[in-house]
Each structure stands twice: as structure tokens, then as C-alpha cells.
């Protein structure tokens, strides 16, 4: 077993296990920690493809900053209790559609790979061939010459994003904003819990009848909110 194969298998397994953990874990904290597994796996695959700088950035920015930000928000809001996965994922129909769409994405890539000989063709971007030097030299050359305008735009984007976050999270002094639909929604959530507990013992046909229709209630809530505001 060659080293490259071993590295790929281990990193790919970490990526896939982490990705499934994100989607399937009922506790948001577990999901965030699974995300770290995926991000590290991708960093390892970057190193395997000789993108050393991007691997370092991946670990520092994603596994360091972004996941810590996620965990911070989870702890700050106190939403770290486990969800009831019988209610929380959308019911049968949408799950099937989502599965078909996901399988379609993977199937399209597999089909196109099977159709070609595994070679990529294209016009060179003109910012340099990877064989000309180290990836860091080439990358910095590309960013600060050819893509310097885009680089400046991203700095503006970051400033705007930070300002936007501050404006949104700032507590507004003044009259408390009331949410007219809150009591009803809490009631409805309790009903859904009770339904799910019942339907765990019921056959599937009976479950379909009492399935929750989210569209009705959210529209009604929105209308109500507008009326109160007016």
C-alpha cells in the first residue's frame, strides 16, 4: 500500500465521517466538532496535492476561527440541547427528494468522470504554472498582480460584513419588539412532540394523516404579525 493511497484513504474517511456527523447528529455541538474532522481531512488532502499554504490557511481559518465562532454562538445562545430527530428533520417526502437530489449530484460527477479519461483540459489562466516554483510564491504573485482588484474588493467585503454583524446583533434600546405568534408556535411545537411520540407506535399510514403542515401556520403567523404592526 503506497503512502499516498494510505493518506488519501484515511483523510477521505475522516472527511466523510465528519460530513455524516454534521448532518446526522442531533446535538449542534457534536455537529460542530464533526465539522472539524471534515475540515482537517480536507487540509490533509490539500497537503497531499502540494497546496501547503492553503492547508495551513484551512486549519487556521476554518478549524480555528469559523468552528470556534460556531461553538461560541451555540454556547452563547444556549441552544446546545439535543433536538428530537423524529420532529426536527422534515418529514418523509422532503427527505426522499433531498436524497434523490444528493444522489443526482454525485451521480452526475461519476457519470462525467466515467465518460472522460480522467484528464482535465482547459486554457491556462496565465498566472503561472505550479511547476514553476513553490505554491506560496506563485499564489502571492497571482493575488497581488493579476487578482489585485479582487483582493481589494474582498477587504471591502470583510469591513462591510463586520459592520453588518455589529448592526444586527446590537441590542435596540426602546420599546420591546413583541412577537405576536410566539405562544401559538410554542403550543404547536408541543403538539408536534406529542404527535411524534404517538406516531412512534402507530403504523405509517396513520402517521401520514396527522403530518404537520408547516406552510399553513407560518403564513398565518406572518399575516398576523403584519396586522399587529399596522
Amino acid at each position: 500500500m503506497s503512502v499516498e493511497l494510505l493518506v488519501f484513504v484515511v483523510a477521505a474517511a475522516a472527511c466523510l465521517a465528519g460530513a455524516i456527523g454534521v448532518v446526522a447528529s442531533s446535538n449542534p455541538v457534536n455537529a460542530a466538532l464533526s465539522l472539524v474532522g471534515t475540515l482537517f481531512g480536507i487540509a490533509v488532502l490539500f497537503v497531499a496535492q502540494e497546496a501547503n499554504f492553503l492547508a495551513a490557511v484551512q486549519v487556521i481559518v476554518y478549524a480555528g476561527a469559523v468552528v470556534v465562532l460556531f461553538l461560541f454562538v451555540i454556547m452563547f445562545l444556549g441552544v446546545d440541547q439535543a433536538e428530537d430527530l423524529r420532529i426536527e428533520p422534515l418529514g418523509g417526502g422532503q427527505r426522499i427528494v433531498a436524497g434523490v437530489l444528493g444522489a443526482g449530484v454525485v451521480g452526475l460527477v461519476l457519470a462525467s468522470l466515467a465518460d472522460t479519461s480522467g484528464e482535465a483540459t482547459g486554457v491556462p489562466s496565465g498566472v503561472g504554472a505550479l511547476s514553476d516554483g513553490t505554491d506560496l510564491d506563485l499564489l502571492s504573485n497571482a493575488i497581488f498582480t493579476r487578482y489585485v482588484f479582487a483582493f481589494e474588493l474582498t477587504s471591502a467585503l470583510l469591513v462591510i460584513a463586520v459592520l453588518g454583524a455589529v448592526v444586527m446583533v446590537r441590542r435596540v434600546r426602546g420599546p420591546e419588539i413583541v412577537d405576536p405568534g410566539q405562544d401559538e408556535r410554542e403550543e404547536e411545537l408541543r403538539e408536534r412532540r406529542a404527535d411524534a411520540e404517538q406516531s412512534a407506535e402507530e403504523p405509517a399510514s396513520a402517521r401520514a394523516v396527522r403530518r404537520f403542515h408547516p406552510d399553513d401556520t407560518t403564513e398565518a403567523d406572518a399575516d398576523e404579525a403584519e396586522e399587529v404592526r399596522a
Partner: protein, 122 residues
């Protein structure tokens, strides 16, 4: 003794054949990228906790960056890696704004799901 030696050498020969058959080609990375993208897309459609949906978006972005780096190596061109840098910056900005909205919203109602985000309109 002799038969054992020939058996060993033939074993080594099959080993070499197996190794060349299991060479890691760029196509493997592309398949892994599509699998990650598919899992992230399914999670985004199926889950209703806004935080977990956000993590699924991060999964999809990472699948795309892996694909970009793979094509960069296949084409021997640094352009793919340069785009990954920009994707990272945009993803960071997106996380900041998205988590800001989620904090502002969930602070009022910790039980809220993505469906309840409909009250944000207007």
C-alpha cells in the same frame, strides 16, 4: 524451499500489480468532493436548525475548494488555488453575517427553526 521462494515472488508480483491498480488519481479527489457536496446539500435540505444548516453550507463550500485544488493540480495552473483564497474570504464574511442574523433571531426565541424565519419578511 524453492517452491516457497517462487510463491513469495509471485505474491510480490501481484502486490506490485495491486499497487499500480490502486494508484490515487485526481479523479478520486473529484469523487470525494462530489460526495461531500452531496452530503452537505442533503443536510441543508433536511435539517431545520439554522446553525446546522449553516454548517452544511460550509461543507458544500469545502467540497468545492477541494475540487478547485484538484483541478489546479490537474491543469498545472495556480489559478485554481488563487480562487480558493477568495472562496475562504467570502466564506468567512458569510459566516459573520449569517451568525449575526442567527444570534439576533435566536436570542428572542431559542426554539426557532428555519421555518420561523418567515417572520423576518417586511
Amino acid at each position: 524451499m524453492l517452491s516457497a521462494a517462487t510463491a513469495h515472488s509471485s505474491g510480490a508480483a501481484t502486490n506490485v500489480m495491486l499497487m499500480s491498480a490502486l494508484e490515487v488519481t485526481p479523479a478520486w479527489y473529484l469523487v470525494l468532493g462530489s460526495l461531500l457536496f452531496g452530503i452537505g446539500a442533503v443536510g441543508l435540505l433536511v435539517r431545520r436548525n439554522p446553525l446546522v444548516m449553516f454548517m452544511c453550507v460550509e461543507l458544500m463550500l469545502n467540497a468545492v475548494t477541494l475540487t478547485f485544488v484538484t483541478f489546479s493540480r490537474m491543469l498545472n495552473d495556480v489559478g485554481g488555488q488563487a480562487i480558493v483564497v477568495f472562496v475562504l474570504v467570502v466564506a468567512a464574511a458569510e459566516v459573520v453575517v449569517g451568525l449575526g442574523i442567527i444570534v439576533a433571531f435566536l436570542r428572542k426565541r431559542p426554539e426557532a427553526t428555519a421555518d420561523d424565519m418567515a417572520v423576518l419578511e417586511g
